[in-house]
Symmetry: C2
Subunit: 345 residues, 2 copies
């Protein structure tokens, strides 16, 4: 049986290109005791992977040049040497290789029930992005009913969930996204109060322009700013925070391709005069509470309070392209690569 | 009896000058029921007053042009129409006018015991700066024994107390200050582990130079950064924070005279990859716990674990000059203006 894999062959400089990756045919491994052979069904491409393509210290080890990329994926067990899983089981993992088939320790994957929700949601609303939204917003942002929550990257995998949880919690939600299609979706499908397009045609609006638009929508100031984007958009929002505001630094997709330390508006003066908090977090620090998060998100999904969006690219070989598209704002909701068809038995 | 007052007559542009203030003779008022007549003994000049000289929204109302400046002061009751206080009592308040004499509601001042510690300490180590150090460091910075704490503005009213509390808590302390006299004081008198001069002669070191010096002193990274200064010094420290670091935004003296929104190194990437926190605060939010703070600080003072430094300028008319000197780093420890002599009866 033929296998196929995608390796990092050079570190991206700025925006990654397909030339940073190599796709090649290989062999399928065999599971030994405790292992399973997996057929990849869906691959999750995530902005944070860009950080791993860079050399140097971070919260997670960098990918080595020549290494097969590893990310979240949903897979089907096709052969098992572990009593924990059997052929036909569907599993999710935060770190499976970009391969058609892979061998994994059964302990490192988690079985999911394919009858509860579409299995791709294990990579989105019921997976890491959903949990990131849930814990980041509720544990750090601590939104109170009646407060104003501004969300950047609002139409992305995390942002779409943040917007809806904030609405569930009774907040006024101002969503910032990068196209009319996205702002329409946020307003009509997700029910945000105001959606702001950070582009004017192909032109990126300046921090000052955005500040005026956000200010007009937030007469009482911004109580929670859930930031997925950073850069100029944050420069637009920061001066509008209110007393005791909470700024959740969840992602900085506008900055990930930067080659140098970025300069911009200093947030300290706004934090100081407002006794405000700005906090970064990594979702794995909430690992002990993932069960709670998945349960809550699942309930909201079942009750119809939570919708999800996915942008699905078809075909394993398109994985690098789907990843690169994240930085061009090509995805609405969670960006996923469909690798193989799965049917309930 | 002749009175004298200092009014703001124009808003400073950049560094304040003496021309922004007017000193003039006036009359002494008379206390009515519930009020006391106070003779000012010591005036506290504080960096945060610069913010009040600016127009516009902040956590505290701006001074109006023409208004007498108000700040912390220690005063003696010389006439009382309140049963709560009698002539000879010494009081402290966070908001007394820059006047030789003033009339105040007895409820708005707090009696202090002049036999416990020199009365000027009610404006420094046992007053707002001490409490700011205490709550900012312990409640937000949460230093753990063995951690590395970096303090900017380390030789100032707040910084000197922060350095010592961090040492009491068993931390390694890196103190940043602006002269050899200050770094000597921090090393020899306050016992910090490393003291870094942010100047080289009259030249301010760059963020990169400071970063190298701080990095050399913090091989394990910075766990707590207590920031009184902001600007380039913070740009030097931020890239060195460690996982789960806490950045206490206490003051930004390097920025207070700026006329525009300041641009500098974006802290978000460092907060994100380190799951770190950056928080501003205003000491009044801890008002309910001031008793605890004063008690602890007083105990450390009595036990000889806490030293304090004061820079005392003599003469009421020198108050504006003493205030302006804060922005030139002229003070070691708490900057105070001595207005009148006080002797224990």
């Amino acid at each position: 049986m033929q296998n196929r894999e995608i390796r990092l062959v050079s570190r991206p400089e700025g925006l990654p290109t397909e030339r940073n990756f190599e796709i090649r045919d290989t062999k399928v491994g065999k599971p030994v005791a405790g292992e399973v052979l997996l057929r990849t069904l869906y691959i999750s491409v995530d902005p944070y992977l860009r950080g791993r393509m860079r050399e140097g210290r971070s919260y997670i080890a960098p990918f080595e040049v020549g290494q097969v990329i590893v990310s979240g994926a949903v897979a089907e067990v096709i052969d098992s040497a572990s009593p924990a899983l059997k052929a036909g089981d569907v599993v999710v993992s935060g770190s499976l290789p970009w391969q058609l088939y892979s061998v994994a320790n059964a302990q490192t994957v988690q079985k999911i029930d394919p009858t509860v929700a579409p299995i791709s949601t294990a990579l989105g609303v019921l997976g890491m992005p959903g949990l990131t939204a849930y814990f980041g917003l509720l544990d750090i942002g601590k939104p109170q009913a009646g407060e104003t929550v501004v969300v950047s990257g609002a139409a992305g995998a995390v942002g779409t969930v943040v917007c809806q949880i904030a609405k569930i919690k009774g907040c006024r939600v101002i969503a910032i996204a990068g196209s009319a299609e996205k702002t329409d979706f946020l307003l009509r499908e997700l029910g945000v109060d105001v959606a702001i397009n950070y582009k004017d045609g192909n032109r990126y609006k300046s921090a000052e322009e955005l500040r005026k638009e956000v200010a007009a929508s937030c007469p009482g100031g911004v109580n929670v700013y859930f930031d997925n984007v950073g850069g100029e958009i944050s420069d637009g929002v920061l001066p509008l925070i209110s007393s005791r505001a909470r700024i959740v630094v969840c992602g900085l997709i506008s900055q990930y391709n930067s080659q140098k330390l970025e300069v911009g508006l200093r947030p300290q003066p706004f934090l100081l005069v407002n006794s405000a908090l700005m906090q970064g977090f990594i979702i794995t620090q909430y690992a002990q509470r993932f069960g709670e998060g998945v349960r809550e998100l699942g309930n909201w999904l079942t009750e119809g309070k939570l919708k999800y969006a996915e942008t699905i690219v078809d075909g394993f070989d398109n994985t690098p392209k789907a990843f690169i598209g994240l930085f061009k704002g090509e995805n609405l909701g969670k960006q996923i690569v469909k690798v193989a068809e799965f049917r309930l038995p």
